[in-house]
Subunit: 152 residues, 2 copies
Amino acid sequence: MQTQSITISPDELSQRLAFFEEECRRRGLRVTEQRREIFKTVASSHSHPSAEDVFAVVREKMANVSLDTVYRTLASLADMELILRVGTAYKERFDGDLRPHAHFICSKCGEVYDIFYDKKNMMLPLREAFSFGDVRQICLQYKGSCKKCMPH
Amino acid sequence: MQTQSITISPDELSQRLAFFEEECRRRGLRVTEQRREIFKTVASSHSHPSAEDVFAVVREKMANVSLDTVYRTLASLADMELILRVGTAYKERFDGDLRPHAHFICSKCGEVYDIFYDKKNMMLPLREAFSFGDVRQICLQYKGSCKKCMPH
DNA sequence: CTCTTTGCAAATTTTTTGCATGCGC
DNA sequence: GCGCATGCAAAAAATTTGCAAAGAG
């Protein structure tokens, strides 16, 4: 079941654009061409683009956007929770504890907290997550080698 | 229930060190002082350290390790699955799709695949994850503001 | 008209690489 | 001794910042 290529309907896109503009106004952020284009690009992409990727696409429509505007805009869109960050949003961090556990990651300061759960309770340990702060997003990642990169 | 400060027992640490050495030999990697020290640092830390953090700690014991050795070693330890990466392991990526869904992230090429699940089946969609490749790690993150950073 | 946002350039931060030397096996 | 691993330095990649000018409200 490949879902990568599903495209957003024009209807849904304009609905999301409207919400984007509403959110901008509500927060006193100006609705600029650049912001609109960058949001549109991420909202209609299904390839989990990096800042560079977004930049390349937006560049085709707006010849003179700059990469730093893309960075700034992606950051503000993520702050507004209009798009998601895949990853920690900060530099790479490591964990030497291999017991099954979840993380609460603060979107502001980047702090990482552990949430342990035992085999008897494999339900999402959401209650405990809330004890660390205000849970705005649940992010479940499976990691390994994809078929293209297998074997090893 | 703060679990950050739990320290690994000396017993467990030496057990993990033994396994580390065994794994190195099995893969033909040499057991050097640096690798041992870096592994020990991550294995006994509960602060999800960055490469810089690990470097700072290791530096106290080995005055002349270099940062690039730390980077190289962390990468190989993560490859060996002796430690975990928190995050995507590559540059930051974004997702405009706000429907609840999980990701399969390839540890080799960094490709991100979507895994959708509906409200009727909130179980971990592990079966589908396996359709994308070889699942080696399940990573559950809750994101939001931690108490220190609240409100807003 | 005001004040945020942009583009440009430069700086900073994070991570990687080439190469000669050192050290585990 | 052979060959991988390290340290050094330098480069590359990713991200952020200062500032003058442009444009949204």
